[in-house]
C-alpha cells in the first residue's frame, strides 16, 4: 500500500465522527470492564461484541472491537494489583509486583504505572504496525497458493503448540476446526459436502454462532461449575490518584525495551500477552541492579509487564492484517469481523480497502490515548465490576450469546450451532483440549483448503509444487523448528559435545 494523502484524509474524516469516537470510547470502557471480570479475556469480549457490529460500518466496527481488545488487555491489571488475581492471563506477571506494591501502601502508584505502561506499549506497537505492515503486505503480494497454504499450516501448528499443555491436542483441535469449514458447498466445484439433506448446512457452519459456542459457553459453564466455591469480595479499597508522569517516565528505557519485546512476541503467531509480559518482566529483573527486590513491589516489575502485554496488540495485528494469519486468539476472533463485513484479511486488504486500513491505524492511536484518559477517570468505577455476582453475569452472557447468534444468522440455526458447539467446547476444555486452535482452524480453513487445491491445479496435480517454492520451504522449516525445536536442541546438546570429545 503506497502512502496516499487522499486515503488518509478520507480515513480521518470517517474516524473523527461523533459516532466513531463514541464507539472508540465505549470499546475501551467495555474492554476495561471485560478485563476486570475474572475469566473474561479480550477474545471473549470481542466475540460477544462481534454480532452487534453487523449493523454498523466496518470502520465503526473495528473502532469498537479494537477498543475492547486494548481495554481488556489493560483491564486485567486492575484486579492483578488490587486483589492479586489477574483478570486476564496477560496480567499474570503484573501480580508479582503490582499486588505487593498495594500491600506496601503504593496501590495508586502501581495502578498508574500499569495504565501509563499499557498506553505507551500500545502506542509503540501501533507505530511499528503502521511502519511494517504495508511493507510486509507488499512483500506478501508475491505469495502464491503454495505460500498461503504453508502460512496457514504454520499458524495452526504454532497456535496448536502454544495454546495448551500438549501440542498434539492443540494441532488435533486445529484440524477439527478446518474440518468444520468443509461443511457446505465446496469452494471450487460447488458440490455439497456433509450437508445430510439439512438445508441450513448448505451454507456451512456459521462463524459467529460457532465462536459464541466455543469461547463463551464453555467459559460460562465453567463458571456454573465453580459457583459453589466462589469467594465474594465484600470491599475493595478506593486507591486511585492521578499519575505523576515525571516519576513514571524515569523508566522510559525500560518501557521501550518492554514494548519491543511485546511487539516482537505479538508478531509471532500464538505468542500471547502472557508470554510477552513474563519475558519483559524477567528481562527487567535480569538488568536491574536490585533483582532481589523483584516480587516485593518493584515499579519496574509492573511497568515492564504491562508495557509488554499491551504492545502485543499492535504486534499481533501485523501478521493478521498483512498475511491473514492471526498473531493471537483475540486477533483470530478479530479476523471473524473481517469475514462478517465481507472482507478477507491478508495483503490484498491493503490494496482493496486502504481507507479501512488507515482508519484502523488512526483508531489504534486514538484508542491508546483514550485508554489513558478513560483509565484515569474510570478505574474507580471499573473496580466495582469485580463485585458483580457471577449469578448475574452468567445468565446475561448466555442470553447475549444466544441473541448474538440469532441476530448474526437471522434464524434459530445460529442458536442451535451455539448450543451444540458450546456443549462440545465444554467437554473439550474439561479434557484439556484447547479451543483456540479450533477457532483458528475455522478462520484459516477456507484459506488452507482453497490454496491447497489451487496449488495442486497450478502444478498439474503434483503435490511437490506445494513444498518446493523457496518461501514455502522457508515457512515449512520454521514450522519444523516450532514443532521439534526443543527436541532438536536437546539432541544437539546431547550428541555434539560427545563427538567433539572423541
Amino acid at each position: 500500500m503506497e502512502f496516499s494523502l487522499d486515503f488518509l484524509q478520507s480515513a480521518w474524516a470517517q474516524s473523527i465522527t461523533i459516532t466513531n469516537l463514541l464507539l472508540l470510547l465505549a470499546g475501551v470502557a467495555i474492554g476495561i470492564v471485560i478485563g476486570v471480570l475474572p475469566g473474561f479475556g479480550p477474545p471473549l469480549g470481542i466475540a460477544l461484541a462481534l454480532p452487534f457490529t453487523y449493523y454498523i460500518s466496518p470502520v465503526e466496527a473495528f473502532s469498537l472491537l479494537l477498543g475492547i481488545y486494548n481495554g481488556a488487555m489493560y483491564g486485567g491489571s486492575i484486579t492483578a494489583v488490587l486483589i492479586g488475581v489477574p483478570g486476564t492471563s496477560p496480567a499474570a506477571a503484573t501480580v508479582l509486583d503490582g499486588h505487593p506494591m498495594l500491600q506496601n501502601g503504593r496501590g495508586a502508584e502501581a495502578m498508574n504505572l500499569s495504565l501509563v505502561g499499557s498506553a505507551c506499549g500500545g502506542l509503540f506497537s501501533t507505530i511499528v504496525l503502521v511502519v511494517i505492515s504495508p511493507l510486509l503486505a507488499s512483500f506478501a503480494m508475491s505469495f502464491g497458493p503454495a505460500e498461503y497454504f504453508a502460512l496457514g499450516m504454520l499458524g495452526i501448528t504454532v497456535v496448536g503448540k502454544v495454546s495448551g499443555n500438549n501440542a498434539l491436542k492443540g494441532i488435533l483441535m486445529g484440524a477439527l476446526g478446518i474440518l468444520l469449514t468443509t461443511v457446505g458447498f465446496d469452494p471450487i466445484s460447488g458440490q455439497a459436502r456433509y450437508t445430510f439433506d439439512v438445508v441450513s448446512l448448505y451454507k456451512g457452519i456459521p462463524f459467529i454462532p460457532l465462536l459464541m459456542g466455543l469461547f463463551a459457553m464453555p467459559e460460562m459453564l465453567l463458571k456454573v461449575e465453580q459457583l459453589g466455591t466462589q469467594t465474594v469480595l465484600k470491599e475493595i479499597a478506593s486507591v486511585y490518584t492521578f499519575p505523576e508522569f515525571a516519576k513514571i517516565f524515569k523508566h522510559k528505557a525500560l518501557m521501550v525495551r518492554s514494548a519491543i519485546i511485546g511487539t516482537l512476541i505479538g508478531i509471532m503467531p500464538g505468542g500471547g500477552g502472557d508470554i510477552a509480559a513474563f519475558l519483559a518482566y524477567s528481562e527487567a529483573k535480569r538488568l536491574s541492579p536490585t533483582p532481589e527486590q523483584f516480587g516485593q513491589g518493584m515499579e519496574e516489575g509492573v511497568i515492564s509487564a504491562e508495557t509488554a502485554n499491551n504492545a502485543t496488540v499492535g504486534g499481533a495485528l501485523i501478521p493478521t492484517l498483512t498475511l491473514g494469519v492471526p498473531g493471537s486468539a483475540a486477533a483470530a476472533v478479530l479476523m471473524g469481523a473481517f469475514m462478517v463485513h465481507g472482507m478477507t484479511p491478508g495483503p490484498r486488504l491493503f490494496s482493496d480497502e486502504p481507507v479501512l486500513m488507515y482508519s484502523i491505524f488512526i483508531g489504534l492511536f486514538l484508542i491508546n490515548f483514550m485508554l489513558f484518559f478513560v483509565g484515569c477517570l474510570f478505574i474507580k468505577y471499573a473496580v466495582k465490576f469485580i463485585l458483580v455476582p457471577m449469578q448475574l453475569v452468567v445468565p446475561l452472557v448466555f442470553l447475549l450469546c444466544f441473541i448474538g447468534s440469532y441476530a448474526s444468522e437471522g434464524s434459530m440455526y445460529g442458536v442451535w450451532i451455539t448450543v451444540i458447539s458450546g456443549s462440545c467446547g465444554y467437554c473439550f476444555v474439561k479434557h484439556g483440549f484447547p479451543v483456540i486452535p479450533c477457532v483458528l482452524g475455522v478462520v484459516l480453513g477456507p484459506l488452507i483448503e482453497g490454496s491447497f487445491r489451487q496449488a495442486l491445479i497450478l502444478n498439474d496435480d503434483n503435490p511437490a509444487g506445494l513444498f518446493l517454492r523457496p518461501i514455502s520451504m522457508g515457512i515449512y522449516v520454521l514450522m519444523i523448528f516450532n514443532l521439534f525445536g526443543g527436541q532438536i536442541w536437546d539432541w544437539i546438546k546431547k550428541h555434539l559435545p560427545s563427538k567433539a570429545a572423541k
Binding site: K169, L172, A175, S189, R193, L221, G422, V429, H431
Partner: protein, 149 residues
Amino acid sequence: MLTTEKKKNFVMLGIIMLVSVWLFIETFYFEKELGVATSTFGSAFFPRILLGIILLLCIALAVQTLLDKKPPNATPSISRPALLHVLVAMGVCLLFALIWDLAGFLVGAGVFAVLMAVLLRPSVPSLIAIAVFIPTAWFFFTRVFMVSL
C-alpha cells in the same frame, strides 16, 4: 492400571476417531449422490486427507497417553454436584432454544431466567437486572436493529 484421567482421554479420543471414520465414509457418498466422477483431487480429497491426519493424531495421542507415566495435563476433575449443575445448565440452554423456536424469544427467555434463577440462586437485585435485561434486549433488537427475535 489406567488412571481416571487417562480413561477420560481415551473416551474422548475414541469418540473423535469414531466420528472421523463415519465422516470419512460419508465422503464416498457425497460424490456418488451427485454423479460426479471420482477424481483424485475432487471435493472429497481434502476432507479425506484431513480426516486421515485427524485419525493419525488421535492414534499418536492415544499412544502418548498410554506411555505417559505422569497423569495427563487435564483440568482438575469435577465433583458430582458440580457436574450435575453443568448438565442442568446445558439442559436449560437446550430447553431455551427449543421454547424460543416454538413460542418466541420472550417466552423462551422468561423460562430460561426462571430456571437459571432456580439453578444459580441469584440475589433479588440480580433477578431484577435479568428481568429488566430480557425485554430491553428484545426491544433493542426488534426496534433498533430490526431483527425480530
